[in-house]
Each structure stands twice: as C-alpha cells, then as structure tokens.
C-alpha cells in the first residue's frame, strides 16, 4: 500500500513514473504504437528529430528522418530493425536500423496497388511482414531489409471502413458494410493469413433513418482470461434507455464470434475502456469516475448472454501529482495536479492513458487492498481476487480477517471460499502431475494458489494470536477446511490435524477427538501417533489410540516396541513381535533391559527364557552372542535363579 493518507478509497491508479514526452504543438506530432508500446515524438516532420520512448528506461532513442511532409503513422517492426512511416495515402516508407539504433536514413518505399486505393493504415505482423489496410482490402507484404525492397505475399479484396489490430493474438479486425457493423477477423501467424468467420454487430434499432453506423472508436479488442473478445460500446442499446452498455463478442476458432457478455454501465456520455489484469475498466468522462467489470464473476444469464454489473460503485482514479521544474527561484520542483479524465486523454489498449497536451503516458494500475472493504460479499471478493495477479497476500488477509471476532463470516461462506480455493489448488496439483507424467513443460499461466501451508501460516495462525475466538468456531473452520480438501481429494497435511488436536485438547473435547480418529478424519501418521502418545496423561485412551494407529501404519514396528517397553508392557510387546513375525530380528538387549527394570523376577525369567529359545532356534545354542551385549542380564539372571537355571546346549 502506498503511504498516501487516502489511498484506501481509490483502487485505480496511474503508474508512479509516467513516460514523459514533448507535448503536442504545431511543430510536434505524437504517435503511439500499441503493438510495441512506443511513443514517437516527431518534430517538424522528423527533420528536427524523432524521439522514441518505450516502457523501459533504456528503450528510448533519438534519430532524424527526412522531412517529406506530415507523418500520418510511424511504427517499428517488432524487432526494432525496420521503421515504417506513412506520409501519404498511397505509400509507406521504410528505414533500416542497426542493433545500436544507428541508421543510414536511406528510405525505400512501397506503394499500394490500384490507382484509387487509399492506405488507411499499416500494421507489422512479424519482424519482416507488414499489412497495409486500404479501403479496398488488405495487402500483405514481406519486407526484405537487406535488399531494401518488399515482396507481395497476398492481397485480399474487401471494402474496409476501418480496422482494429490486436498484436498479441495477431488478429486484424476489418469493418465493412454500409453501417460498418460487419466485422471480418483475420489471423496472421507465421506468414499465413487465415480468414475467420465474419460476424455482425447488432446496432440499436432506430426508428428514423439514417441509422448510426458502428464507429471505430467504439470498438476494441481485448484478451480476457486467455480468450480474445471484441469489445463494442453501445451508447443507446435500446430506444428509450439512456444507459450505455458494453457488448463482448468472443472470437471463436470455428464459426462466427459469439455474443457472450453484456456489461451494464448505467450511465451515458463519453467512455473509454482499459483492460487491467483481465478486468474491464470503463472510464466515464462526464462523471469523472471509473467502473470495473469482471466477466469471471457470475452475472445474470438468459442462457446465451451473461449480464454484468460493476463490481464496485463508480470511483475516480486516484489523483496524480506531477513534479515539474519550478518557475519560482525558491524551490526547484513544483507539484502539478494532473487533470483526470481530461478531454486531452487518449486511451489505448490494454492499459495505456496518454495526455498528449501534457506529454504523459501512464499505465493504469489496479490496487487490490482497497477492494477488500469495497466488496462486502467475501465470496465474490475472493473469487475476484483469486484470478488477479499477485493477489495471494490480499486473499490470505481476507481469509484471516473473516475469522476474527466482529467481522466473522458465517460458516456457509467460509465453506464456499474454502471450496473455491481448494478447487484451484486441486487443478494446480493435477496439472503438475500431468506435467510430470508427460514431461512436456507447457508452462501454466501462473495462477494464485493458496495451499495448506499458506492457510496454516497466514490464516489459521489467527487462532494462536487471537484468544477471543471461540474454540467451537475454530474447530468448525478447520473441519470445514479438511472437508473441503478431502472433497477435492487433496491429502491433508498433518500440521492441520495437529492444529485441531491442539484446540480440542485444552477444551477437554477428548471424546470428539476420539470420534474424529474413529472415523479416520485425522489420517494415520507417525507424527500424529506421537502427538497422541503425548496426550496419555490427560486422556488415558490416547495411548491405545496411538498404538492402534501405529499398528495400522504397519511401518512403525520399532515405535510400537518402544512404546510398549517404555510402559513395561513386556508380554504385549513380545506378543506383538510374534504377531508381525520379527522375533528373530529384534534386539534382545532392549527387551531384557526393560524386563530387568520392572524388578519383577518372574517377568524377567519369562523374557529371558523367550530369548534363550530364540537363540536355540537361530544358532542351536541358548547363549547370547557377544555382539548382543547381554552379559549384564545373564549375570542378573544367574544372581536371581542361579547358573543351573540357564539353558544348556541340548546334546543329542
């Protein structure tokens, strides 16, 4: 969290260090290339200089180009080796750049096909491939930098009103038709153009012509939860309604895009859309507020389309102060309050806001902490947080707080939240297993996983720290968590059992504990058995319960012998080693020592004879071997019963 005093009431922020550039004026033009995330400041047509700034500090470069008229569009190829400049509706010029951004400033040019054709823009689809979008369709070229020439790869004819390019997915969307509402997606991948099924965006029914056509500024593309959507802003979806809405069309691999979600804005006026961490952020200029939508949260559904309302009430972006060189001699810097939702703002996908007059480029950021108090429904809150980046800390603190007296959530929502967390945890474990099995390391989208140790250290630790929580509630919460883990078939770690035992025992709930063990709610393990052993002094049956558990484990024979011998239960110990068939391997010394300690000569005699018989069976000789270190017990035996009582070798 930032130290600002009112940071709690804003969850949308502009990044601390905006990219600064020379503001637009009559000699300076500014361009933003959203594919490479670069700002171009072009002064006097480039003759004075072009400054390029990218998201990283060292990304900026300066160079000159020949001034041959106003620049309409300027973009680097994805590898920054070739610069494309459009100065006329007929052609695009190219300049090659070296690794150190040096340039020979020699331009080569490519004109579009056809006399009447007008280039409305161009996009780089690969380091060496470029697409011209014209009013007659698209022209796909390969740029051969070393030859300073281009080769036409493909031309597609289509009447185009405007276009939208989405660089990550390589999808170009072309609008056609008299109302520009016929959208044609093309996919560019590896030098191949694939035409995807076109679809129509339904326009609001208008009673009197002319009908408003679909505007370029109302359409964008966004990646949400790994799916590509066409985002359409509808200002007046139905006659009589003033509230605007956003319609999402999901681009499908097969078939036309499908209308899947409608986001209800409940406002009208000028809007701008950003996508931050899979959330749809809508800025409303009139009210100077923004709203957030999450299509992952359940909305109302009519079976086809999900309807969503803002996750939280409209809130402004956090005020932003810019430090400017001071005009007064007293201070060298002065604070300048940037105007938010300014008319000079231009919004780019996914998360860029540019104020060209101010010369600022910000990334919009989302703060999760303030959301915690804004969403009272903890289930919705956690559901929202669980699919955000870096939300683990916030989720854990939400989970912890919902166990605190005063803000305690009810068990039903706690159970639902546990189920949700564990479902993700289970999917993660399963995919881990599959990755191990197939060994094909397809890296998973890094999702937030809340595992048992996180819960133990960060959430259930609240029980240690806060003594006002009723033990019944603590038990209920942990049992709920264990139930949820079991239902997801996730093996429960023994420290959770330890935790529940440590709550039950001080509250004298031994019978409850007993029942949990009886129904194997607490899974058998050696540590658990040891814990049970330690409880014998407060709950006598714990001893037997621990022994039963060790016996069920069947890998704890040594421990069982130790336990029995420590209790001087020699005969049960001997019965036990007989029942599991390890008579020949146990240490006779250990048994004889325990037998001697009982100070019961009869018992000592019995145990001694038992091992003498073992010796006879193993070696045809009742004597103990020197390695067994039993001399002291043999002496003890002799002192009690005399030398004659010792067994002798049977001579037959």
């Amino acid at each position: 969290m930032t130290s600002s005093e009112d940071s709690g009431s804003f969850f949308i922020e502009l990044c601390k260090n905006p990219i600064r550039f020379d503001p637009v004026d009559k000699n300076t033009n500014v361009f933003y290339d959203d594919a490479n995330k670069q700002v171009f400041t072009v002064r006097s047509g480039g003759a004075v200089g072009v400054v390029v700034k990218g998201p990283k500090e060292n990304d900026s470069s300066t160079f000159r180009i020949e001034s041959r008229g106003d620049v309409m569009s300027i973009k680097f190829s994805p590898d920054r080796k070739i610069l494309g400049i459009q100065r006329s509706p007929k052609s695009v010029e190219f300049i090659n750049f070296g690794d150190d951004m040096s340039t020979d400033q020699l331009e080569y040019s490519q004109a579009c096909k056809g006399k009447s054709t007008i280039i409305s823009g161009f996009v780089w689809t690969s380091p060496t491939e470029i697409v011209f979008i014209t009013d007659h369709g698209i022209e796909f070229y390969q740029v051969i930098a070393e030859k300073k020439s281009l080769r036409s790869l493909k031309t597609i004819s289509l009447s185009v009103c405007w276009f939208v390019w989405q660089a990550e997915s390589g999808i170009l969307l072309l609008a056609s038709g008299s109302l520009s509402n016929s959208l044609n997606p093309f996919q560019f991948r590896g030098g191949i153009v694939t035409k995807l099924a076109k679809f129509e965006v339904d326009l609001p029914a208008s009673t009197k012509p002319p009908r408003q056509s679909l505007q370029e500024r109302d359409v964008s593309m966004a990646l949400l939860y790994g799916q590509l959507y066409v985002v359409v802003l509808r200002h007046q979806p139905r006659p009589g309604t003033a509230a605007a809405e956003i319609v999402l069309y999901q681009i499908m691999r097969e078939g036309p895009a499908r209308k899947t979600n409608i986001l209800r804005l409940e406002m009208s006026g000028r809007f701008a859309i950003n996508i931050v961490s899979n959330l749809v952020l809508v800025h409303h200029q009139t009210s100077r507020t923004s709203v957030v939508f999450d299509i992952h949260l359940d909305g109302e559904s009519d079976g086809y389309v999900h309807y969503h309302y803002p996750v939280v009430s409209p809130l402004p972006i956090k005020p932003f102060k810019l430090l400017l060189p001071s005009l007064s001699p007293q201070a060298d810097k002065m604070e300048y309050n940037c105007e938010l939702y300014s008319a000079n703002w231009v919004v780019f996908q996914p998360n860029v806001i540019i104020d060209a007059k101010l010369g600022c480029l910000w990334y919009v950021e989302l703060k999760l902490d303030p959301l915690v108090t804004m969403i009272p429904d903890k289930y919705r809150l956690v559901k929202l947080l669980l699919v955000r980046d870096d939300s683990k800390r916030v989720i854990l603190s939400v989970c912890r707080n919902m166990l605190l007296p005063g803000q305690q959530a009810n068990l039903v929502s706690i159970a639902k939240i546990f189920d949700m967390l564990n479902k993700v945890y289970q999917q993660y474990l399963e995919s881990e297993c599959q990755n191990l099995a197939t060994d094909s390391g397809v890296p998973q989208r890094s999702r937030v996983i809340i595992d048992q140790s996180d819960m133990y250290t960060h959430v259930f630790s609240v029980f240690e720290d806060n003594k006002d929580i009723k033990y019944k509630f603590m038990v209920a919460v942990i049992i709920e968590y264990i139930r949820s883990l079991n239902q997801c078939a996730i093996p429960v770690q023994h420290y959770l059992y330890e935790l529940i035992i440590n709550i039950l025992v001080p509250n004298n709930c031994f019978y409850q504990l007993h029942q949990f063990l009886q129904y194997h709610v607490l899974t058998d393990s050696k540590p658990l058995a040891c814990l049970m052993l330690s409880l014998e002094s407060v709950y006598a049956p714990a001893h037997q319960l621990a022994l039963d558990m060790l016996k069920r484990l069947s890998t704890a024979n040594e421990e069982i012998i130790e336990v029995l011998l420590s209790k001087q239960q020699l005969l049960p110990a001997i019965r036990f080693i007989r029942s599991v068939g390890i008579v020949d391997t146990v240490s006779s010394r250990k048994f004889l020592e325990a037998a001697m300690n009982t100070e019961d000569p009869r018992l000592f005699y019995t145990v001694f004879k038992f091992f003498e018989q073992r010796n006879v069976r193993l070696r045809q000789n009742p004597k103990f071997q020197p390695g067994e270190h039993c001399e002291v017990y043999v002496k003890h035996f002799e002192s009690l019963f005399g030398t004659d009582a010792l067994a002798h070798i049977q001579v037959s």
Partner: protein, 474 residues
C-alpha cells in the same frame, strides 16, 4: 422336568438411612419401594436387613458390598450418591423336580449373574438421573413414553427444593413405577453390562459433511449447546461426553425412537411430511420432540428436559429431536433459554432441506452396505472400552428386543468369561466348549473385548484356535 420359575424382579427400593435415624421413624428412610403394595413392616424389615448387611460388610472391605446371594434371592446394592442406596432384588430361577417321589425345587443360582444386574441397577439410577416421566396426564396413557421430565441427581433435587424429601419421593415414584415395568429382568445379558453404542460406519467424506452440517447448525443457533447425530439406531456424532451419550443413546434407542415409530405407524401424528402448500422446498423433516405440526402454532408439543454432565454437573437442557428419513438430530438447549414456536420454525426451515438431503445420501451408502448373506458360521459380540463401540450378531437387532441367535446358557457364558477377564488388567484369551457343542472364544486385547460363538460340528480346539477371526471393527 417340572415347571421353571424365571428370573423376576422381586423388589426395588431406594433409601437413605439419615432420614430416619431414630427408632419408630424407620419408615422415613424409604424414598421409593417397589412393589408398592408391600406391607410397611416388611418394607422396613427389608431395608433394615440391607442396611445391616452393608454395614456389616464394611468391616471386611474398603469396597462397598455389591451383592448378597441367598438360595432364592439375589440382592444387589448400589450407593449412587452418598448415603443413598438403591437395592434391587431378583428371584433365582428354579426348576420343580421330582426326587424319590417327592417334589423339590432346584435353584439355578448360576443363571443370575451379578455383573448383569449390577449393570441394570446402575443403569436404572442413571436413567433416573437423566429423565423421568412427564406430568402431563395425556402422555401417561402411553406407558412406553417414560422419560420425559428430567431430574438430575437425588442431591440436586433436594438442593433445588430446599431439602424437600417429598418431592424426591414423588419423582422417584413417578419414574420408577413406570420404568420398572419396562425392565425385562430375565432378558438382560452381557450387552447390558457393556451398555455400548452402535456406531454408524460412514466414509470419511460423508462423515465430514455431517460434521460440517452440525457445526453450521450450532453456529447458526448458538443456544444449541450439544448435538448428537443418529442414523436409525446408530450414532454418527456426539457432542456430548461419552458417559452422557451412553445413557442418552439408551434412552433414545430403547424409549423415544420406538415409541415415536409406533406412533408414526398408528398414524396418530397429524403431520403429512410433504408440505407442498408452503413456499419452502419439500422436505421430510419433522420434530420427534417439539411441535408435532410446524404449521400449527398452538402447540409446542412435548419437549423433554434432560440432565447433562458434559460440561458442568446437572445441567438441565431441553431435548429437541428432529428427524428426516432415518437421520435424527438431537439438540440440547439449556433451559435458561425459552423454547418458542418461532425458534422451532426456524430450526425446521434450516434442518428440513439439509437433513433430508444428508439423510438420503447416507441412506444410499447404508443400503449398499447392508447386504448380509444367509446364516453365518459364527456369531460375535464386540465391545470397545475406549469409545463404547459395540456390535453384535448374537442378537437379532441392536436393541435386543426380538431375540438371540445362541442358546441362553452360551450367552451367560460370555458374561462369565467377560467377568473373569475383567479381573486382570492383562490381555487374555479364553476358549470354551459348551454342552450344546458350541465353541466360544473370548478375547480381550487392546481395550477391546471380542466374543465369537462358533457352531461347527466336530471342530477341535486346534481348529478353533487356528481360525482367524480377524474382523475389522472400530
């Protein structure tokens, strides 16, 4: 062979010597005496005899006298609270025989086993402590419904009523005059000694769901202090301490549930389970104790009070029992809370749908499990001293109401073996062959007792011993 006299309850009385220390005031010692019709002189005489025996025995042992054997009678003594003695006298069964033309009576002394009757006596006291029958006239008609008003210890009653002995006498009379009628003295056996609990086998996930359901119930309705969950006559979960649950289990399975089922069968209950008229979802839940009809606000029904010692001694609680299908939830609510119809309605709204679902899920598991085949070659009784878990295939059902599968003398033999083994803290095993050609194996190990009766013709000891009756149980 002549006629046989069965074991029968001759008398049962409760006295406190301190109440009539002076001569001529001996009758004041009597708190309860069965049979009532007995002549007062005889009552005084019998009590006097018992006092004398107890006192006399004190000179020989630190342990109080437990029983007195005579040719025709067996006296059993119990001092449940200081100076309060409960004494039970049962008759020794006998056979009328002819010997040299003369009729004579042969008493079957060994048929009356002290441990069994000591257990019965203890249970009679605990039952009283937990509950007695209600004052409501209407319910008196149902002889079976015995235990509805709850008492606490003798001392507790006295303390509550300013040492009014008459109230205690009244309560004792009220309870025991009915309770003793239901006591089937001649049918008592080893099961009464164990007085165990039959646990419902459930898989872990279903069990955890039951757990969470109860946690939710107790969180939603915080005045519910303890909860027990039963399926049929089997316990799934108890929030009560073991000792309380033991007697509660006895009460529920031998009294409340059977009488409720009887009532259900007779159709006297006016409630139809499917409430389609109301807006809520259809469920099959209803109160066993509590409002007989959730749509009729006029009657809260009969809600018994019980005395629980789980947290503190003599905590008086309402016992509210709710059932859907075969699953019952027993809720204990401290009497400091007032029972209102509104509360019951809220409980019904919460419990009904959830319990119906849970019960049918458990039922599914249960029906898969109950696929026992024909006549097994052996019968067993199992008892776990740690958690009181008990299982029997010797009796036709867990309530031992309808009969046993082995000869009575064999069943008595089990009691003898158990008594023998209880004398030593060491584990042990006993194998016995009966006259009726049954083999009986008794085993005590790791705080558990296990008895197998094998009906295998011509089997010898080695075969029986070699047989591995390793039946896995709780």
């Amino acid at each position: 062979m002549g006629t046989k006299g069965a074991t029968r309850l001759v008398s049962f009385f409760v006295f406190n010597s301190n109440y009539g220390p002076r001569e001529g005031e001996e009758h004041k010692k009597i708190l309860f005496y069965y049979p009532k019709e007995e002549d007062l002189d005889n009552k005084i005489k019998n009590i006097g005899l018992c006092e004398a025996i107890v006192k006399f025995a004190e000179t020989f042992s630190d342990k109080p006298c437990q029983s007195m054997h005579t040719q025709k009678m067996r006296h059993l003594f119990l001092e449940p609270e200081k100076d309060f003695w409960a004494v039970m006298t049962v008759s020794i069964p006998f056979i009328e025989k002819q010997k040299e033309g003369q009729p004579y009576t042969e008493y079957q002394e060994e048929d009356v086993q002290d441990p069994v009757y000591e257990a019965l006596l203890r249970q009679a006291y605990r039952m009283f402590q937990v509950c007695t029958s209600p004052v409501y006239e209407a319910i008196l008609r149902q002889a079976y419904r015995l235990f509805q008003l709850f008492n606490g210890t003798f001392c507790h009653i006295l303390a509550k009523t300013n040492n009014n002995v008459d109230v205690l006498k009244q309560r004792l009379d009220h309870f025991y005059s009915r309770y003793l009628q239901t006591l089937r003295v001649h049918q008592s056996d080893i099961i009464d000694i164990f007085s165990g609990i039959h646990f419902m086998p459930l898989d872990k996930n279903t069990y955890l769901r039951v757990q969470c359901f109860i946690n939710l119930l107790e969180a939603r309705f915080p005045y519910i202090k303890y909860t027990a969950f039963m399926y049929n006559d089997q316990l799934v979960w108890s929030g009560l301490e073991q000792d309380d649950m033991r007697i509660m289990y006895k009460y529920l399975t031998t009294s409340l549930f059977p009488s409720y089922q009887e009532q259900e069968l007779q159709g006297t209950s006016s409630v139809s389970p499917a409430r389609t008229t109301t807006a809520q979802a259809i469920h099959y839940g209803k109160f066993v104790t509590g409002p007989p009809d959730i749509n009729d606000e006029n009657t809260l029904g009969k809600i018994p009070r019980v005395f629980i010692n789980s947290e503190v001694e003599n905590e008086e609680c309402f016992l509210l029992v709710y059932r859907a299908h075969n699953a019952s939830v027993c809720m204990l609510i401290n009497v400091a809370n007032t029972m209102t119809f509104d509360l019951c309605r809220k409980l019904d709204g919460f419990l009904g749908p959830q319990l119906t679902q849970l019960a049918s899920d458990i039922g599914e598991q249960y029906s898969k499990r109950v696929t026992t085949s024909g006549d097994p070659p052996y019968r067993y009784i199992y008892f776990n001293h740690m958690n009181l878990a008990q299982k029997t295939t010797v009796h036709t059902d867990n309530k031992k109401s309808s009969g046993i599968h082995i000869p009575p003398d064999t069943l008595r033999l089990l009691t003898d073996i158990s008594a023998d083994m209880s004398k030593s803290s060491e584990d042990g095993e006993t194998i016995v062959k009966t006259f009726s050609d049954n083999w009986v194996v008794g085993k005590k190990s790791d705080q558990r007792e296990f008895y197998v009766v094998i009906n295998q013709k011509n089997a010898n000891l080695i075969e029986i011993n070699g047989n591995n009756y390793n039946i896995r149980m709780n």
